[in-house]
Amino acid sequence: MRHQQVVMGIPMSVDVPDRDDAAVREAVTMAFASLHAADRRFSRFDPTSEVSRYARGEVLVVSDELREVLALAERAADESGGAFSIRRPDGGLDTDGVVKGWAAQRAVDILVAAGIDQLCCNAGGDVAVVGEPEPGRGWNVAVRDPEDGRRVLALLEVRDGAVATSGTYERGAHVWDGRTGLPAMGLTSATVVANDLVRADILATSVLAMGPDGVSWAAARGAATVIAVRPDGEVLTATAGAVPHLV
């Protein structure tokens, strides 16, 4: 059963195969509620959201959620040598590079805590999976080719892991290099496979910001696999463990 809602202006879905009982539906409702709550807290477009008030210096007591997101962002900025930044070139605060993956992983954690042991969560193209869709087979996650949506750049069979893709092809150059303040142009897309979606999403955004140098960098910092595409179409890959099996 696939459950889908629009959160943060982005379609998000939870696919729980073979189960549609009350317990699953209640857990899915809670998971989406947590996503909507994160949306309200971190919306840049809502002047009354906590992140908007924080950016204006109006928040005296920071919530646990905002503190966690800011800590993740600070760590990512340190690790990437400043390439990853939640400070926009125009001076504004933009936590989107952390919040989507963080919120989606939190939703997945709610589902797992409710006893769901096989699921696929797709948060606007960022994917977290648990278990297997059917015995003996992992979740087949296709990564779209940034140059051509008819093509699949890679096909990943994933169990208990996450796949995040950050690219310039759908939303333009919305990722910038925090070191220069300029739009990240060195890659057209970066896909990261990691244990969880918090890490995968931050690493994917960091790799896009860093450019080609970020590919091997991410493989040393929690990425199981990195797949990136240069503007000329060249595909760069790195893995933390064994060499991937290329077909």
């Binding site: 140059e147 759908e170 290329l246």
Partner: protein, 182 residues
């Protein structure tokens, strides 16, 4: 789950067109997708186009009028259902029009052709095209998901990473068509 190591297999990497030739043929007849599909369409085989041809022209012609209403969201749940059973008594092939899924960039609506229990064709009836940027999104994001829908008939691809905006709207409309069929 963070404590558990990632288990998985990188099946392949590269600019590999996994879409089958039959899948490419599906995009013919969908205006906004034509441009994107054209370069690869020449190699398409005709193994399924014979059965899907009449359906696709049928839905295509009726869709263009409804397409322009755009704001027909209030009737989403009722109007597609009426078409759902018309072909079932005469043929194994049934084409069902999915509900209109509203996305940030516009409406997405698809029709699905079943042959028995298998999905043999998916046509995008509505995809966002209000602005040049949207057209670009549509051309890039919808075809891969058409492929996904077709592939899902044989359980090959479960989800897609990297198609941010249109993916779920597409899946939603697709799912509604599947649900209507029962």
């Amino acid at each position: 789950m963070a404590a558990r190591p990632w288990r998985g297999t990188l099946i392949y990497v590269g600019a590999v067109a996994v879409m089958t030739a039959a899948g490419v043929a599906k995009f013919n007849g969908v205006g906004a997708v034509d441009a994107a599909a054209a370069p690869a369409a020449d190699g398409a085989t005709s193994d399924e186009s014979a059965t899907t041809g009449p359906d696709s022209t049928d839905t295509g012609s009726t869709e263009s009028g409804a397409d322009q209403t755009g704001s027909g969201s209030s009737s989403d749940s009722t109007d597609p259902g009426s078409a759902s059973t018309e072909g079932s008594s005469t043929s194994d092939d049934v084409t069902i029009v999915g509900s209109v899924a509203q996305t940030r960039y516009g409406n997405v609506q698809v029709s699905v052709t079943f042959s028995g229990d298998r999905i043999t064709d998916v046509q995008a009836l509505q995809i966002p095209d209000r602005e040049p940027r949207d057209v670009q999104i549509s051309q890039q994001a919808v075809p891969i998901l058409t492929q996904e829908a077709i592939e899902s008939g044989s359980a090959r691809i479960d989800t897609v990473s990297g198609a941010t905006y249109t993916s779920e709207g597409y899946i939603e409309s697709l799912q509604s068509a599947i649900d209507q069929r029962g």
